[in-house]
Chain length 121, copies 2
Amino acid sequence: MKEKPIELVMLFDFYGAMLTDKQREFFDLYYNEDLSLSEIAENEGITRQGVRDAILRAENVLNGLEEKLGLYKKYGAIGKGLEDISRAAQDIRRINAENYFSREIDDKVREIIERIKDITE
Amino acid sequence: MKEKPIELVMLFDFYGAMLTDKQREFFDLYYNEDLSLSEIAENEGITRQGVRDAILRAENVLNGLEEKLGLYKKYGAIGKGLEDISRAAQDIRRINAENYFSREIDDKVREIIERIKDITE
């Protein structure tokens, strides 16, 4: 199961609060902290199989939640999209400042940048 | 409990899939279709109290999920923010077209509008 599956780690950010404390801890140590199953088992004083089962259960819970709610699919890509919008807005501001000095356009661009801040805060 | 609580109805959109079929159905009839508890009870052939209990349980589930996950708080306002950004971008496009005809600015604005479409689709 290793090789850090990006989507699973993103689902953990979205839905991790729905896992049990143990599931969350093991998942985090395994995927985010990159410990091995054996290392986690040793630290926790349980079997490697026990750790593995907990992580697999966690993966099932995360995948099941996304299957039902679909919130990662709907909102997961927003951060990237807003970065692109922010960059384009900054470009407009620069082009406008260097060429036209339109106060109206500058105001609108600042409004866009403010809204992006509101959303991402 | 009536007087359509906006946040609760938004939480229903986010997390409704986690309710049981009955909870979802009663919640929807009561808050979205505006039927009374008695009307729902009569249609379903159960007591008014039974309907009321199911809806209260649904509300508890929705509030509990938001308390744990906080995804509505984090993403719920995005739609409104993107509309504002879209409107400002359209304004820039118009001002630019009427006054400066900068192809560069127009390209950037179209990029912003495209990104917003990507996000909201």
